[in-house]
Symmetry: C2
Subunit: 352 residues, 2 copies
Amino acid sequence: MELSAGKLINLARLADGAGRFFMLAVDQRGSLRQMLARAAGRPPAEVSGADMAAVKARLTRVLAPHATAVLTDPIYGFPYSATLVPGHVGLLLAVEEAYDEQEGSGERRTRLLDGWSVQKVKRAGGNAVKLILYYHPDASAQTRRHQQEVARSAGDACAAEDLPYLLEVVIYPLGGQKADDPDYARARPDLTLRTVQEFSRHEYRVDLLKLEFPADLRYTREFSGGAFDGRTRPPVYDLSAVRVACRHLDEAAAAPWVVLSAGVGIAEFLVQAEIACAAGASGFLCGRAIWQDALGAYPDMAEVEARLAADGVHNLERSKAAAGRAVAWHTHRRFEGQIELAGAGLDWYRRY
Amino acid sequence: MELSAGKLINLARLADGAGRFFMLAVDQRGSLRQMLARAAGRPPAEVSGADMAAVKARLTRVLAPHATAVLTDPIYGFPYSATLVPGHVGLLLAVEEAYDEQEGSGERRTRLLDGWSVQKVKRAGGNAVKLILYYHPDASAQTRRHQQEVARSAGDACAAEDLPYLLEVVIYPLGGQKADDPDYARARPDLTLRTVQEFSRHEYRVDLLKLEFPADLRYTREFSGGAFDGRTRPPVYDLSAVRVACRHLDEAAAAPWVVLSAGVGIAEFLVQAEIACAAGASGFLCGRAIWQDALGAYPDMAEVEARLAADGVHNLERSKAAAGRAVAWHTHRRFEGQIELAGAGLDWYRRY
């Protein structure tokens, strides 16, 4: 299959020599503020933008050199970390601001960051655009249309700039369910699969999918005894069913995909990464599982940095090892065996 | 000093972790055609574009992984090598087509490649624009103005795209002199220095200078016995004078600079790289010195490839070692001790 020059060159920048994505996320905003507030024993409003920026700069400086790419945000992240992105490490920039929760239904609608754009990501030297999209396939038609339209617009803008488009789709509980309910755990494989099916449609022009692990490992028979957080839960499936769910996800994904950590602990993420990559994932884009424990020392920045250098790097290296059998992105079936430059020929430069 | 986001991120992509540029040039066109014709015993017109493209693809595949960046052209190079540029290796693309030699005077005026542009370099994922400019400070005012205008326009276009601008300035003999004359050898330090002074003016907005070695080592007392090509020449200076010329060049250069090989052999280039970097250069952008010998086997492509893998890689590694003390680009005095992102702050994303 053919890929345009900007998509091809920039996708390669995100991966290692074997086509595997071992990417670090430091683009958290709300969740980071909460984390720092909790660690410092302050209300979130007393964690300033400068505080967030300082933490992100440390995360980037210590961890990014060990990743194949780093995802950051354009408010607290990039402006304070631009000089800290190593030359051999790819750069992804987020374009969303947050989501608005609809009153009553709790449905989530993405809001892009006003004053920022896909064009600016390209201009600033980003190698890819990241958009997170909360989605529930059974949300109202209006909410689904809104989310689909946001995803489609970003895809069009990325195509216009010839820049890779990484779409992160994340499901969430609706109708009174909670994230840690057995019912929601049971529903996750199906909700994730249907969401991936939607955004694998050609019209979204996605180059890389960032996907949640399609099950809750804490509700598997094998890990239900509290393996990750000490709490016993009623099992709703077993690991073989989870492996099947991952393979279904891989079959549905019309583009190479990476797994995200969604705030789970490192032990759980290592299992997720192993299973996802065995099912066809091309690596991970992971943040909190790697560095959240180090932030427990906040506001002692020297201790935060020491923990990042010790445990954070260790977690990242372990994640890379767990994802070692990630599938080279350029071997994804969408490329039909070989990637070629679109329009290659002696007159490429004229027609491009 | 402040650097804009696109300049900062993309300059870093060209260098290694220590800020040194070990860059490979495969953007030759006319000289490559001549080389292949000679090796194959054919007239240059019988070397096809496909032949050139095939050779460039081999050069890129075998050598680029050992460089910090690769410079190629958009006709025979990039369209056939885009899938061969490793993700951790920066990409520079040339924008000139050739020069027109003025009848009578022999003055050279650069012609840009029609249908190609700085905008397309950015779009395609290039990390920098390369423009070669032949220049003689004593050429006619008209020719000088033409060249200055070409250089300035490219600088403006790169600023508009927020893309690094690498300007290569190369002097040439006028007024009946020949490249291998003692008189021309004697004139080189002064001609090079005056040329660098011109293009170091702020109005050209150059981010990186690619400079010729400012003397002919074959005319130094120490190497005049035929050290590089077996031919004895009358010495016109000695190495200490050459080192002084390099330091003057470094003092005149208003931006980080790299040394080019201009078709000299590898033994001579190693000495040039060592002296240039000791005088302040930030590395090299070198082509023929590294790979020209391997092309002697053309059209036996298997043998070309074998020689590239053996001698070509060896030459590149030796060049990196010779340039090992290259000055980190970000420590250049233009940056006044520290590089900062222009406009850094929580509202950077809005104002960028």
